[in-house]
Symmetry: C2
Subunit: 250 residues, 2 copies
């Protein structure tokens, strides 16, 4: 199988897993958890998983792999750079809205913020993401950014990008696990217990499995040296030569 | 800074984070959770986090990076391959013991097994790890294994290795988060609630932060093409030429 065909198969899988994750988390919040509102109630909390999975995971993952599409390699990089920055900005905005949803809910219900490990990992992911976007914008999109700075920034940007995705997956998994324990308590609140694996538990666990699979496919696409845009490959002569002059594009 | 010096700094960080994670989880189980036993009680459960963090995360991570030490590149690969296999086998044995600890505890306490997302992710990690070890042993250590099979297996082995580490990190984080919610319930069981961040919560959250940092450093070491043993680099001519003949070493 050619490397390019394998790339498109992986990308198709990536798109499908992302869509399935968003569908699954939306179904969970809307059908099993009662739907959405922005009123400080549990219905406001329901925006949190939907916005975080859609923003911090799926759109983020899509935004991360746009440079890898071989069809775009012969084209000017700028439109793809702008698409990357736009997708990441949208992803960041949705993530921040997702944080607002849970903070508002906690404040209205007098629940403490940022004490659980899930919240520590999640807030670190969003903070690093905001920093990454701002430094990436200044370094790679502002014309006044020096080439030497871009060269230095590039490997850090790539590594931090993958790391944020790993944090995002860990935050999603711990959050889903925690939520299922909170809501499926059994007799005390009239639900079936999580341990008897009712339909909602299977849905939540399947969402977790989809999220992990999505993260693995995105990281696989990012890690494959043969799928990196030729002017970006580590150790690639073209990159090194361009890196020393004005042709470096990112 | 030279690439080799950076490698040793990253490795030092990797070793330090691994040791700190094991120390932290041991301290948690022994001092805050009452110590260890193998009698079906909560003290048997306490082996679970210690064995999983030590086996499935830290020893696994150490085992994954042994090929990356530049000092070894001029040497025969076989002893390093044996060290890799031995570390991974020890890691697998500890992980299986860690699963036995929690299954025994659940069975003795009449708690269901394998219903939570944490358990789904964890059991998948251990099952894939066992498969990876067995196939890796057959493919890379048995002399009768065909070179063509080794060539085919190599990228799958490397990718699956990183994926198991990601699963392991997600399982650890969701497990620690879940355990802290279970044990720090506040008034009903006479503890301070998790939400008031008592010392045990800070210890557990810090353990989670150490685990994530360890995972990121290991994945960073594995992802750096310049730190891959020369005969293993993707697209490396030596590898390609050797791969076609009898000199391929893994």
């Amino acid at each position: 199988m050619s490397s390019s065909l394998l790339f498109y198969l992986c990308s198709l899988l990536c798109v499908a897993l992302g869509v399935a994750s968003v569908a699954c988390v939306s179904l969970w919040s809307s059908r099993w958890r009662g739907g959405f509102a922005w009123d400080g109630s549990g219905l406001q909390f329901n925006w949190h998983p939907v916005l975080m999975v859609t923003g911090l995971l799926v759109l983020y993952g899509y935004g991360a792999v746009v440079y890898r599409v071989p069809l775009t390699w012969g084209q000017n990089k700028l439109p793809w750079k702008l698409l990357h920055a736009a997708l990441m900005l949208l992803s960041l905005i949705l993530s921040i809205l997702g944080l607002c949803a849970v903070f508002d809910f906690h404040n209205a219900q007098k629940i403490a913020n940022l004490y659980s490990l899930h919240s520590w990992i999640g807030i670190t992911a969003v903070a690093l993401f905001a920093l990454q976007w701002a430094v990436g914008f200044a370094g790679f999109l502002l014309p006044c950014s020096p080439v030497a700075f871009r060269k230095l920034l590039k490997p850090v940007h790539v590594w931090l990008g993958g790391s944020i995705l790993l944090l995002s997956v860990a935050a999603c998994i711990s959050g889903i696990n925690e939520k299922l324990f909170f809501v499926l308590k059994g007799t005390p609140n009239g639900t079936q217990p999580y341990s008897s694996l009712p339909a909602e538990a299977v849905l939540g666990n399947s969402l977790g499995a989809l999220i992990v699979a999505f993260g693995l496919v995105v990281l696989k696409i990012l890690a494959n040296v043969n799928w990196q845009r030729p002017d970006s490959r580590p150790g690639d002569t073209a990159y090194t030569v361009r890196g020393a002059g004005k042709n470096i594009q990112k």
